[in-house]
């Protein structure tokens, strides 16, 4: 039995697009999403407005976290039978390397989708998926 159960086979991209435009902060950050080999790939395009450390320069660590949380919420929405905005319960973030001023990517794994609560792990990277800049875990309450 795979770790992932109870999960739709193909993500609902139409719902994903709708919610990408519906969340003001996702629009503010400029988050995009596309389908890549059956997985949803989230993209935070390079943007000088998102710099936290100008001397490196590096993105604001909180922004990387916010992008990962939003990616997780959208990933969940795309896998719901009746797409609705999930509520974040908690978020745990490990920073592995500073995120430079360039495009950042994220992918999510819906580890468990329960009736009320879902557990999602998120990986964010810039140069290579095997060299993540941050990994995170989120719990969401779904309506």
């Amino acid at each position: 039995m795979a770790l992932v159960d109870n999960v739709r086979n193909s993500p609902n991209l139409a719902a994903l697009e709708v919610w990408l435009q519906k969340v003001p902060y996702a629009v503010f950050l400029g988050i995009k999403a596309e389908l890549n080999k059956g997985d949803i790939l989230f993209i935070l395009p390079e943007d000088k407005r998102l710099i936290g450390n100008p001397s490196l320069p590096a993105l604001h660590g909180g922004v990387v976290g916010a992008f990962m949380e939003q990616a997780a919420a959208l990933h969940l929405i795309a896998n719901m039978d009746n797409p609705a905005l999930p509520k974040i319960i908690n978020f745990s973030l490990d920073y592995l390397r500073p995120a430079r001023l360039r495009d950042t990517y994220a992918k999510c794994l819906l580890s468990r989708q329960g009736r009320f609560i879902s557990n999602i792990t998120i990986t964010a990277w810039q140069e290579h998926v095997d060299q993540p800049n941050a990994i995170a875990r989120a719990h969401f309450l779904t309506p």
Binding site: L50, L93, D94
Partner: protein, 159 residues
Amino acid sequence: MPVLSNSQKYNLVKIMNDHIPHAALLGIQVERIDGEELTLKLPYQTVLVGDSDAGTLHGGVLTVLLDQTLGMATVCCDATEPSVTPTLDLRIDHLCVAPPGMDVFASARVYKATRKILFVEGCAYCESKENPIARATGSWVRVADIDLSWLAPPDQDVV
């Protein structure tokens, strides 16, 4: 004996905050420093909303505010020299949604300092710190001391 006076901490934290482009974009300001506790303020803005029907702030916005507040609280710690401290990890519990239309404050302090690691805790709130909307804990790594030779001595405090 604290390493820095309250007003020296304020000046240092204000300069750090003013040098963060994303903090300027969001309008994050230094609200106050009380001993080892730092408080920052994030003004409410509709572009930062997560649920447009309810008008409530996005959880990720709190991540930005708390990451920055807990991270900058490391220089307010009296047990160690102010250091360059990248974030190791951060955990946030979202206790309730932020009331729509209200500015958010975040307070944080180092609760344990070791030679290499600073353990920090904090919370975000709107009306009262006793009624937080989120709680955060995290750890920061000391990688280098900050050169403070330019900082005004305590007796020249202007704040």
